[in-house]
Symmetry: C2
Subunit: 489 residues, 2 copies
Amino acid sequence: MTAYDALMGFTRETMALAQVAGRLGWDQETMMPRGAAEQRAEEMAALESVLHARRTDPRVAEWLTEAEPIGDVATAQLRHIRRSFERAQKVPADLASALARTTSRAQGQWAQARADEDFAAFAPVLDEVLRLRRQEAQALAQGGDLYDALLDDYEPECKAADLQAMFDALRPHLVSLRAAALEKPAPQGLSGQFDAAQQMQLATLLAQAFGYDLDNGRLDKAVHPFSSGSGLDVRITTRTDERDPFNCIYSTIHEVGHACYEQNIDRAYLLSPLGQGVSMGVHESQSRIYENQLGRSRAFTGWLFGQMRDYFGDIGVSTEEAFYAAVNRLQNGFIRTEADEVQYNLHIMLRFDLERAMIAGDLSVSDLPAAWNDRFAADFGFQVDKPSNGCLQDVHWSVGLFGYFPTYSLGNVYAGCLHAALRKDVTNLDDALATGNTLPATDWLKDKLQTHGGLRNPQDTITHACGHPPSEKPLVDYLTAKFSDLYQL
Amino acid sequence: MTAYDALMGFTRETMALAQVAGRLGWDQETMMPRGAAEQRAEEMAALESVLHARRTDPRVAEWLTEAEPIGDVATAQLRHIRRSFERAQKVPADLASALARTTSRAQGQWAQARADEDFAAFAPVLDEVLRLRRQEAQALAQGGDLYDALLDDYEPECKAADLQAMFDALRPHLVSLRAAALEKPAPQGLSGQFDAAQQMQLATLLAQAFGYDLDNGRLDKAVHPFSSGSGLDVRITTRTDERDPFNCIYSTIHEVGHACYEQNIDRAYLLSPLGQGVSMGVHESQSRIYENQLGRSRAFTGWLFGQMRDYFGDIGVSTEEAFYAAVNRLQNGFIRTEADEVQYNLHIMLRFDLERAMIAGDLSVSDLPAAWNDRFAADFGFQVDKPSNGCLQDVHWSVGLFGYFPTYSLGNVYAGCLHAALRKDVTNLDDALATGNTLPATDWLKDKLQTHGGLRNPQDTITHACGHPPSEKPLVDYLTAKFSDLYQL
């Protein structure tokens, strides 16, 4: 057996175990009896410790030295394995385990603090998480920029400076679009009865309409919508709110975007480093293009309007155009996950700047609420009324996800690029979308991007799909055209 | 840290990983999308290989040498760990992995062969399973009896000769009881509409009535009823047949017996060798006493009759006594799992003798169908009509479970002993059972047996609970009294 084959065999087992850990996470959010939490924590810790030992196994270093890759695929596999091994080597085992323990505790404390509107109760553990993540960033950066070191986990080769330039280019367009739209009369929202069981039936219909394969996945309810797993077992969750069916509908389409990316990767890459989405930003480009550019398009919402009336009867709006306006209406709001397409990235910019300051040591946890609230008022023009609408709204920082937020905007920008290229290649896409048929779009995405998994780095993945490097311009053009038309600006 | 503490810490992680493997098994039977099977096989194999490496880790031998246990609990923990380590050491890794691969393949082939009524299609893989298990038995027995070596996996310290004596003592009583009962007019069976969703509601009610804690478990549907997991996460499954509600009812109560044993073990033993049921026979004693001595008692079926009428309306029998007779009626039948209390152990005797002959090399796989059918006609007085009613009915041999069947009868014998002791201690038990209250019985079982987990060896576990060593006499007395009364013999 060659060193390359030995390494790939070992890696395949490690990835299979990582899938098991992921499935335990899914179980925890969907099926686990509530009294099992304490035992589950030990099960997860045992599995994580096995994974950590494998990721830092000295044999990996030997195989990496000896392996002679033949062809692009083998070269890419080795690039991923080397990256992951070098990262794992840099972080001391006791720091990794302190982070795992602390973030697990912090997540519960965050949920409680958010329910109690009590930031002070959460501050000490967040402070500890921040301290450990800064320590980890120092270990990873080895003298370089701390934030870049963390960002690299989620978006390999991306730098904060690039993101800053992207945000600077986006901001004026978003701000002026918002100002213009909010001066116009607000479109009407939905009203009616939206039975939870019927929402789940509609969610299944939508998942299948976007190409999600239920033979290799399943759809369940959970508190937070998510997608979990790679390869032949990619599961999604959604939630229902009987007053607001859009929550279920667009959460489902969003997670289907993530899940289809995983399901559509070349089966030859199964349980190998290439067999998963290549980065968070590219992943988010898939969920966002499914959700927004396709799912919130005039053509698709025209079809969806008919479905809504079939499922729920009178929904409070009576034309396809009024439904399209309701789906896409701009509103003042505190919550990132409920934001419209125009304002969403403004929420991200706020978090990006605050978390960079925290990682740099320029913003302390105790000063975070005031900093958040000041910045929110400056960016959005009204005051945060309570912590759950402010800096306690997102789970991310509690679980140590510093450097993750900007990949959401990167995903939006990538989705803008992909959508422009898709429209160029598939000129009659709206005819299909108007009948609920997403296949011309999802097949294009599968062929151009999804099937390749981790073969290219994130930026090259987008470049390969679009035919040119990514920029924010297609997103700006798309948003300007869509909302100018919708609001008659 | 002492050697004992180090060993227990290591063992705790291994047991946590074993729980994860068990939960994957549960997922496979209940939740897994069907297209995921191939990937799941690799996930399970990776986890099994981690477990095997831990079970044979040379540090365990060192710790076992150095550990100085203090007290009964520590001594018992070491006894289990030594046993498991020595067993794992004796089996070469390539044999263990060949067994895992072959039995996984064989299970699918068995299911297909059963569906096709085609024993010949199954014979080659069964032959391979038998060959590998005999090889394993040779490695384990080290010159001793092969069948005893396999039996020891399921019922530590039990010998085939003991079981033979037990069966010899049981057989004449069972045969004569059956003969006498079958001469009498058969009691009426149920008829009516038994909606599957309502059966599941009743199953939940019954699970709770027998003390199953849904905060540390859950009840789902699966093709085969089973209980899975130990400690804080013990899940059960059941099934429904719209023509036969007893299938769901008594499968559920049976699995609840297994699950309550696991749930009721002293929490101090969590994720340690003492924290699981001590043997298959003792496990089966719990499922059987819940199902039969309690669940099929006149007092409890009186209460159940009322529930059945509430759930299903007219069920075809109109008195508590007629319902009791329907629950307990003796019938000719091919299928072990559907057998009544009298005939069940006759089905086991047939399998015990045939599998001993196979392991001894005295019966070949190709001769199995004829041997089964001849023996069945001799023992039951009528001819097997098709393989799915004969030697293809049970999954056990396909997955290598030779030596497992007799633990079912051992469980019945143990249940007989426990029931006699319980009745002596709790004289007014029927008053409670007649109101659907099982607590006086289940509390007694918890206190006398379940809470102790693996503290004592199987035989001593029963002796401790009953106050005297087990014998088959209480079971014979119970069956004779119950069926003489019911059939007016």
